[in-house]
Symmetry: C2
Subunit: 191 residues, 2 copies
């Protein structure tokens, strides 16, 4: 018996891999203003209908790419909040040192401000990720490294924020000392 | 004698005012992916050639809008670093509570990642503004409120960054207590 793939999204990692690479390349070359699903399909060597069937739209591709990025940055659990956050920020910095990733993020920002449905989907994806990283702060509170009333969202938004400021607005390349510098400075105020 | 306006950019604040409003409206409605200079010209009731002559391109309009926003946020000098930064962040929050401004900023982010010329022009505009806000930190060091080796760029990027994180990525509306909360928290680590 031949196993039939699930309707709508047949399991074929090779197709999604080709689409990921194609989407990043086309976004880097043409930007959010210039990209189309046809260009991504052509670059990936995949039929346009296949892209629509698997991801629904350009928005679906943008969300898949953010899922990939989150997957590249595991949530550390080293037993110390400073070491955890520096490890996290090192992986974050590695992701955003790739200019193609920054082009992609700038497109996601513009896209979610154009479409409420995409904004809602991205928000859900972000919330899920934030729940995972919040564990770093919760564990630090349990160990007595941070006060019980620590605002985890504020702390993590300061970290995510300075990355956004540097890569999206200042187009900075995040120097090697960036993770240690920002984590050490920030924890001085929270501890 | 009739005074002739300078070539290229005749002084007519009414035209630029109409273009500002039109650009913000069209960006809010159609996003960076959908906006054209024709739509802005039509909405403003101005000839397309007038827009090109005054601003060169869509990019010129994006830069004009950021200049307007900076002009809406004066650099405070109250004699105290905490009061200065809270006053600054209150004005910053007021600007970004307008959804049209956030749509505009998301377009600027995408646009500068598509075009190096725009990125360079925006970077020069940003640097000029940052030099002005750095005075808040310099004065605080002189008064002994902050250590002499305070990294002003790091401090101000943390503040700008958490705004970017909240409005661009989380689409948050910046609660009333936001300016006090972020400034108080951040200064605890820097002082």
């Amino acid at each position: 018996m031949i196993r039939r793939p699930a309707r709508g999204r047949p399991a074929d990692p090779a197709i999604d891999g080709a689409l990921r690479r194609a989407a990043l390349e086309v976004l880097a070359e043409r930007g959010w203003r210039g990209v189309t699903i046809d260009q991504i399909a052509t670059r990936a060597g995949v039929a346009r209908t296949t892209v629509y069937r698997r991801h629904g739209s350009l928005h679906g591709i943008l969300l898949m790419l953010m899922g990939d990025i989150y997957a590249q940055v595991p949530v550390p659990d080293t037993g110390n909040v400073e070491t955890d956050l520096i490890a996290l920020m090192r992986d974050v910095a590695a992701v955003w040192r790739d200019p193609d990733h920054v082009h992609y993020l700038s497109a996601l920002v513009a896209a979610q401000h154009e479409d409420q449905g995409l904004a809602d989907a991205y928000h859900a994806q972000f919330r899920h990720r934030r729940d995972a990283t919040t564990a770093i702060v919760t564990r630090a509170i349990t160990r007595g490294e941070l006060p019980p009333d620590t605002d985890a969202d504020l702390l993590l938004d300061f970290l995510a924020g300075i990355v956004a400021q540097r890569i999206l607005l200042r187009r900075d390349s995040l120097e090697q000392t960036f993770p240690e510098t920002v984590v050490t400075q920030l924890l001085r105020g929270f501890a």
